[in-house]
């Protein structure tokens, strides 16, 4: 159903080689990189970034950007944790609602999707540039998180919730299952549905798309909503893994997501790129992080190296385009 050949382009081929070389180097330089434990470790660590990067890819494909995903992640994680632990009480109505694990997660997802919807609405109906609209949301959602948590972590969320972050199913960690499902769904969505085609068309040429009768605003609102929803998925994963919702969770996650998207060959001006590319980008960043830690490189240098990789990826991508 998903034709791999068609979805890979030259940029991804280069990314694959880069990843291979990176893994080879780390295998030679360290003792414990090529172990099963470390493999699942890396995969589990990147699963949050994969989720939000997938959402980011959709937004970037429409020539937008979403800076709010890190804050939405934190807020949704906190909402889910708070509802699960304390329920929702409205003293003025003398009302108390308790939440099951599923109920709390669904509530978190709804909030994420809703905040994404607000982003999309601002971008389409009020023509606020995506950078500004989502920057505003970044600040607001962080504020909501602080209000909701009163600045303190919410901990002790129970085993069944924790299972989502730390459990294994059929020999594969739960976060990897979840991010895998997100990826497969997004690949089908982008390459096999009308919605996906419209995303590429809008990013490729919004004027031509409008004149072809494509519902630009509707598609964009959906895209931002999905990005918000996927940030909420990331929030649940982070919270479940730590058994704690931190008020300052997810800070600068949007930058890691953008990095994954860019390294994966998606053009920031829209219309060009794939979900698989982004997944590769996220894996490269994850492996790099992991490898540098295993090699005891100082965290300060890690950042420098990561920045250089991003720059290099874009330079290579530009030269690919020129030679096209």
């Amino acid at each position: 159903m998903i034709s791999l050949k068609k979805n890979f382009n030259i940029a991804q081929f280069q990314s694959l080689i880069a990843l291979f070389v990176l893994c080879l180097a780390l295998a030679l330089l360290t003792d414990n990189f090529m172990t099963t434990d470390n493999f699942w470790n890396v995969m589990r660590q990147i699963s949050v970034n994969v989720c939000i990067s997938v959402g980011m890819t959709l937004v970037v494909l429409t020539a937008g950007i979403d800076l709010s995903v890190g804050s939405i992640l934190a807020f949704c994680g906190a909402v889910t944790a708070g509802l699960l632990k304390n329920g929702l009480s409205i003293p003025s109505l003398n009302l108390f609602i308790g939440f099951t694990v599923l109920g709390a997660i669904v509530a978190g997802f709804l909030i994420g999707g809703g905040l994404g919807f607000v982003n999309g609405y601002a971008v389409t109906k009020f023509k606020v540039p995506p950078f500004v609209a989502t920057l505003a949301m970044l600040t607001m959602a962080r504020g909501f998180t602080m209000l909701w948590t009163k600045g303190h972590p919410i901990t002790g969320l129970g085993d069944s919730f924790g299972f989502l972050g730390t459990g294994w199913f059929l020999g594969i960690p739960m976060p990897v299952w979840i991010s895998g499902i997100v990826v497969i769904t997004a690949v089908i969505l982008t390459s096999k549905t009308r919605f996906g085609r419209y995303i590429y068309a809008i990013g490729g040429n919004e004027n031509a798309s409008r004149l072809s009768g494509i519902p630009i605003n509707k598609v964009k609102i959906w895209v931002y909503s999905i990005a918000g929803l996927l940030a909420a998925v990331g929030g649940v994963l982070v919270t479940a893994r730590l058994d704690s919702a931190q008020p300052n969770a997810g800070i600068s996650y949007e930058l890691d997501a953008i990095a994954a998207v860019v390294i994966g060959g998606t053009s920031l001006s829209g219309g060009r790129g794939t979900i698989w590319g982004t997944v590769l980008g996220a894996i490269i960043i994850g492996v790099l992080n992991n490898g540098l830690i295993l090699m005891n490189v100082s965290p300060f240098w890690q950042q420098v190296i990561k920045g250089m990789v991003i720059l290099l990826a874009v330079i290579i991508d530009k030269s690919n385009q020129k030679s096209e």
Partner: protein, 506 residues
């Protein structure tokens, strides 16, 4: 007297399409040369070559007898060639003085800007041009006419020896035109060579010493303005052997598909001059209605208004198949059976990076879907069908549309609308930038589609094209319909006469 600037045997091609062929031109100091021709005749291309914007072309350019080669616009500027563009190239957030000195700011020994000096020089320039604005005013706060004068000041700053003016009066009022003419005459007296491009023929008769007429990229006539009449000039611009592809004797007795009544479109920038005014016409089933007009006549605005793009600013009514419409978006217009092939293919037509088959299916995505999922096989089927019937030259369905020639891109866009089988098909400059073979194929296609019952509205600024394909012709000027001709009545001369703005037509 030797020529100041001379071009010899200039030929310029754009991906196979010849824009200029073997053009010779010689400009003398102290003379105003009028460069005239229809839209797309090659005037702008020639201008861009002589001002260093296009650097790859065949032929020679001589400045005071010396061969010259520009590698960028600045070279031409430094040589003494100034250009006043048709579109304003000013930055609204900078002041008048900052705009005039943009890229050639005066600096002192420490590299700091000499603000006072620039402001004073600007003041002197503005006085010379009789423009009463402060050098420190933001350009964005000036009226369009004033901005045009600032643009002129910019060209005068460098003390150019050759000055090109591309329709400098298109945006300014009468008093400003007078000032401009005075300046031109003064420049002429100073021995500068001036090239004046305009559609307004009486301006040319008032100003120019020599004329050069371009048509289809060739010089078809030149000489002294005093030796030629207005009618002769019009004939030269338009005149050419016309091959009639289709002349139908169809009367509009059949059912009216589209009825436009008193359509008006407000101009938010200038309420006194609406973009469309009192437009009324009918379009019958299977009819090809040609709309001719110069740039800015409101042709494109008409198409867009019928397609649901300007609904908030529209007055009057549009009836489709007898029902009143009020399209709020292209989506609604398309659902009702309208289709539009836009004027600017690159900007509004193609999704450049997408494949041919994806571009083709953009309007009919449900036709290439099965159970809600896109089907490769259905894409291929759609692609095969249109590539065969429209004779699109393409390697395979995954080829990006940007790598096709203009003609083939246009066929893909036509294909995506044909697949929807529209009631009304609007074609805005359907053959712009397309080679002659593809043009003829598109003419045949228009005839075929109209025979199958589709009503077609064609906008074109090429008279022979309009004459060749239309059953009936409307001429627009300044947002109004100024004439209607049946295909028997229409001639190049009476169309040309009807399209030139009235107040200029004495």
């Amino acid at each position: 007297m030797t020529a100041l600037l001379e071009v010899k045997e200039i030929t310029k091609k754009f991906s196979g399409v010849t824009a200029l062929s073997n053009v010779n031109l010689s400009l003398e100091g102290g003379k105003v040369t009028a460069l005239i021709g229809e839209n797309g005749a090659g005037k702008s291309t020639l201008l861009k070559i002589m001002s260093g914007i296009y650097t790859d072309f065949e032929g020679q350019m001589l400045f005071k007898g010396q061969e010259i080669k520009f590698s960028r616009p600045k070279d031409a500027q430094e040589m003494g060639i100034g250009i006043i563009h048709q579109e304003l190239n000013l930055i609204p957030y900078l002041t008048v003085a900052q705009n005039i000195f943009l890229g050639r700011e005066l600096v002192n020994a420490f590299g700091f800007l000499e603000r006072e000096k620039m402001i004073n020089k600007t003041k002197a320039l503005l006085t010379r041009l009789k423009l009463e604005v402060e050098p420190t005013a933001l350009v964005g706060t000036l009226k369009v006419g004033q901005q045009q004068i600032v643009e002129i000041a910019k060209a005068l700053l460098t003390e150019s020896e050759v000055v090109f003016m591309d329709e400098p009066t298109s945006a300014i009022g009468e008093s400003e035109v007078e000032v401009l003419f005075e300046i031109i005459n003064k420049l002429k007296a100073e021995g500068k060579a001036i090239v004046y491009i305009s559609h307004k023929l009486d301006e040319l008769f008032a100003l120019a010493d020599d004329f050069v007429v371009l048509r289809d990229g060739k010089v078809v006539g030149q000489g002294g303005v005093s030796e030629i009449s207005r009618a002769q000039l019009i004939n030269m611009m338009a005149g050419r052997e016309v091959k009639v592809v289709k002349k139908s004797t169809k009367n509009c007795t059949e059912e009216k598909v589209l009825e436009v009544k008193n359509l008006g479109l407000l101009n938010p920038e200038n309420p006194q001059r609406p973009l469309l005014k009192d437009i009324s016409f009918d379009l019958c089933k299977g009819e090809v209605l040609g709309v001719y007009g110069l740039m800015g006549a409101g042709r494109t605005e008409l198409c867009e208004s019928l397609f649901g793009l300007n609904h908030r600013k529209l007055t009057g009514s549009i009836l489709l198949n007898g029902h009143k419409t009020g399209f709020k978006s292209p989506i609604e217009a398309i659902d009702a059976g309208m289709a539009l092939v836009p004027e600017d293919r690159k900007k509004d037509g193609i999704v450049a990076g997408m494949s041919v088959s994806k571009n083709l299916s953009l309007t009919v995505i449900e036709k290439v879907s099965k159970f809600g999922f896109l089907s490769d096989a259905l894409h291929t089927k759609l692609y095969d069908k249109h590539v065969a019937s429209l004779k699109i030259k393409v390697h395979n369905e995954d080829q990006a549309i940007k790598n096709l020639s203009g003609g083939n891109q246009q066929k893909v866009i036509l294909g995506k609308w044909i697949e929807r089988n529209p009631t009304v098909l609007m074609l805005d400059e359907p053959t712009r930038g397309i080679d002659i073979n593809a043009k003829n194929e598109i003419y045949e296609l228009i005839a075929r589609l109209s025979a199958s019952g589709i009503s077609i509205l064609v906008i074109s600024s090429e008279i022979p094209e309009i004459l060749a394909i239309s059953d009936r012709i409307l001429v627009m000027s300044e947002g109004e319909i100024t004439a209607e001709f049946s295909s028997e009545e229409a001639t190049e001369t009476n169309i040309m006469n009807a399209c030139i703005p009235e107040n200029m037509n004495q």
